[in-house]
Symmetry: C2
C-alpha cells in the first residue's frame, strides 16, 4: 500500500516493455515510484494474487496514475502523451504519426511477444536460436523501413515513441547475441539515443531491482 500521490510504475529491470515506459516518464519529466515485480523469482511474482489484482494480465509494466491503472506499454505511453504532451512523442503530422506507430507496433506486436520469457520457456533447447530468428527477421524489415523514415532518430529528427521501442529491443538483441552488423541504421540510431539522459536513467542496469552484478 502506498500513500504517495506520485504515479507508481510496476516494472522489472530487464523487461523491455517496462523500459519503454521508463524512457517516456523520464523524457516527460514525470516523477514516479517504482515497484519491482520479479518475472523469474518464485516462479514469477507477476502470477501472485496480489499482483493479479493490480493487473489481470499478469504482466509488467502497469502504471497507476490519475486514479486509474493502465497496462500495455504503448497504451501507457499514449495516455502520457494525451495528458502530458510535452515533449511530444508523436509527431503532429498524421503520416509521420502513422510511421511512428507502424515501427512501434512492429516491435511491440511483431518482435517482442515472440521472444518474451514465457514463449522462450516453451522452446527448450531451441530457445536462443528462436529468439535470434525472431529478432533478425524483425530487424531486417525495420532497417528497410528506416531508409524511408529516419533522420537523426527513427522518424525524422525528433525523438518519438518508435525510439522508445527501438532501444529496448536492441538491448534484447544484444542479450541474445544477435549480430547487428547488417543493421547500420538501427545501430546508429540506438547509439545516438543511448547518449541521452532519459535513456541512461531508465536503463536496465540502473534500476532499483537491478542485481549488483549487472549494475553499471
Amino acid at each position: 500500500m502506498s500513500f504517495s500521490s506520485q504515479p507508481i510504475l510496476y516494472s522489472y529491470f530487464r523487461s523491455s516493455c517496462s523500459w519503454r515506459v521508463r524512457i517516456a516518464l523520464a523524457l516527460k519529466g514525470i516523477a514516479y515510484d517504482q515497484v519491482p515485480v520479479n518475472l523469474v523469482k518464485d516462479g514469477g511474482q507477476q502470477f501472485s494474487a496480489e499482483f493479479k489484482a493490480v493487473n489481470p494480465m499478469q504482466q509488467v509494466p502497469a502504471l497507476k496514475i490519475d486514479g486509474i491503472t493502465i497496462t500495455q506499454s504503448l497504451a501507457i505511453i499514449q495516455y502520457l502523451e494525451d495528458t502530458r504532451p510535452n515533449p511530444r512523442l508523436l509527431p503532429q503530422d498524421p503520416k509521420k504519426r502513422a510511421q511512428v506507430r507502424m515501427i512501434s507496433d512492429h516491435i511491440a506486436s511483431g518482435i517482442q511477444p515472440l521472444q518474451n520469457t514465457s514463449i522462450l520457456n516453451k522452446m527448450g533447447e531451441r530457445k536462443v536460436e528462436w529468439a535470434q530468428q525472431c529478432i533478425t527477421s524483425g530487424f531486417q524489415a525495420i532497417e528497410q523501413i528506416l531508409q524511408h523514415t529516419a533522420g537523426r532518430y527513427c522518424v525524422g529528427d525528433e525523438i518519438s515513441m518508435a525510439d522508445l521501442c527501438l532501444v529496448p529491443q536492441v538491448g534484447n538483441a544484444e542479450r541474445f547475441g544477435v549480430n547487428l552488423a547488417p543493421y547500420p541504421t538501427i545501430t546508429r540510431i540506438n547509439k545516438a539515443l543511448l547518449e541521452l539522459e532519459a535513456f541512461k536513467v531508465s536503463h536496465p542496469s540502473r534500476q532499483p531491482d537491478t542485481p549488483p552484478e549487472l549494475r553499471s
Copy 2:
C-alpha cells in the same frame, strides 16, 4: 499496378488483423479495393519479392492510402482515425481512450502474435493446444478487464478500436475450438457486434478471396 484513386487494402480473408482494418474501413464508410495475399498458398504469397516491395514486414494487412503505405493494423486504424474521424473509434476522454488501447494492445501484442500461423508452424503436434492456451489466458484477463470498462461494447456504449480487435480474436478462438463459456461478457459483446453491418461485410466468410466452401 493499379490506377485506382481508392485506397488499396492488401488482405487475407482469414487474417484477423486484416479483419480489424476491414471493419474500420466499413464503419467509416471508406470505399477501397482489396488485393488478396494468400498467406498459405505457394509457401505464402507475402514472401514474394513483389509483396515485399509493398511491405518489408511481409505481413498483411497493408493499406495504400493518401500516397503512403501503412502496415500494422492498429497503426492503420489510428491513421484512419486521425484523418477520417467520423465515426470516432477512440473516445475523447483520455482515460477511456487508454482503456480502448489497453484492450486493443492486449489482443494485438498479447494474444494474436502468439497464435499466428508462423508460430503455430513451429509448434508441430502441440499446435492446437498451444493456440488454445494463448487465447484462454488472454481471454481470462480481458473478461476481467471488461467488468470495469464494458457497456454495450468493450468500452462503454460506443464502438471502439477495442471492438475491432475483439471480434476477429473471438473468430480465431472459435476456429481453434476454445470453449467460450467462461467468458460471458466477451461472448455477449461479440454477438452484439456481429449483428452490425460493418462487421458482417468485413467478415472472413464474405471476402473476394474466401474459398467457395467457406462462404456464407
